[in-house]
């Protein structure tokens, strides 16, 4: 990558990092992670989620009660005040990032974010 382009990419990253939305999100994320109850609730939810997905991918039919149990756990995690605060802050970050992505796309005429993610999906 040429130095000028590298510097422009760094500059955009730093500007986004300094944005109020990103700082609020990083703080909300840290608070959610630092809270034992919240962290444990989310860790448990993801543990169950990955276990269910693994079983489903192995061709196992999941029972209705265990699926419902997972959704109840997910709702419980989502309704935790620190998770809600983090998710609300994340929505602001998404909006800011989407606008920045649109500006890059506007200069190119092709969707920058799709191309950047296409490399990951190969």
């Amino acid at each position: 990558m040429n130095p000028e382009l590298l510097e422009a990419a760094r500059s955009l990253g730093e500007t986004l990092n300094q944005a109020k939305a990103v700082q609020a999100y990083l703080q909300a994320k840290a608070e959610a992670e630092a809270d034992p109850e919240c962290a444990s609730l989310e860790a448990h939810m993801w543990e169950i989620y990955h276990a269910l997905i693994a079983r489903q991918e192995n061709g196992e039919q999941l029972t209705q009660p265990e699926v419902q149990e997972f959704y109840a756990l997910q709702n419980q995690a989502r309704s935790h005040r620190l998770v809600q605060a983090r998710d609300a802050a994340l929505a602001q970050v998404k909006s800011l990032f989407a606008d920045a992505g649109s500006e890059i796309t506007g200069q190119l005429g092709v969707d920058f974010t799709s191309l950047a993610l296409a490399a990951l999906e190969q």
């Binding site: 990558m1 760094r10 990253g13 990032f97 989407a98 890059i104 092709v110 799709s114």
Partner: protein, 137 residues
């Protein structure tokens, strides 16, 4: 009269922050548009889109897809024709050139995204992608 400093949440500060991000994104986009990787990609894209053989084969593919949508004819025959036509399209040198140029440009976009993400402290592209479902997620 109190001279205590107060923390007032001024919306204008967020707007200015966003304006800086807009400006930085525009600068990055402009520089990216000047790279040889983008220019080659754009040239290959235009060549592919304007090629008569690609247009002819693409039109045939669309005909079969429309027939499938409307439930006309034999599903397996249409799907077989679509597969054959797609192989023909992909084997055209011009289309292969396009895919190569696209891969090179994709690699550059990915590298840029990594630099932006590292400096932002949050992954950029996955969060910048606009949801197609309209759910705002």
């Amino acid at each position: 009269m109190s001279t205590q400093p107060t923390n007032i949440d001024l919306p204008i500060l967020s707007i200015l922050g966003d304006a800086k991000a807009t400006q930085a994104a525009q600068s990055l986009g402009k520089l990216l548009a000047e790279t040889p990787e983008y220019q080659s990609f754009l040239q290959a894209l235009k060549a592919r889109n304007h090629d008569l053989e690609v247009q002819r084969l693409s039109a045939k593919i669309r005909e079969h897809e429309i027939a499938l949508q409307w439930g006309r004819g034999n599903v397996l025959e249409h799907q077989g024709e679509i597969n054959t036509l797609q192989v023909q399209v992909q084997s055209l040198p011009l289309v292969q050139t396009y895919h190569t140029a696209e891969q090179i440009f994709i690699r550059l976009c990915r590298e840029i995204d990594q630099v932006v993400s590292e400096n932002a402290g949050v992954e950029f592209a996955p969060l910048a992608r606009k949801s197609g479902c309209g759910c705002g997620g």
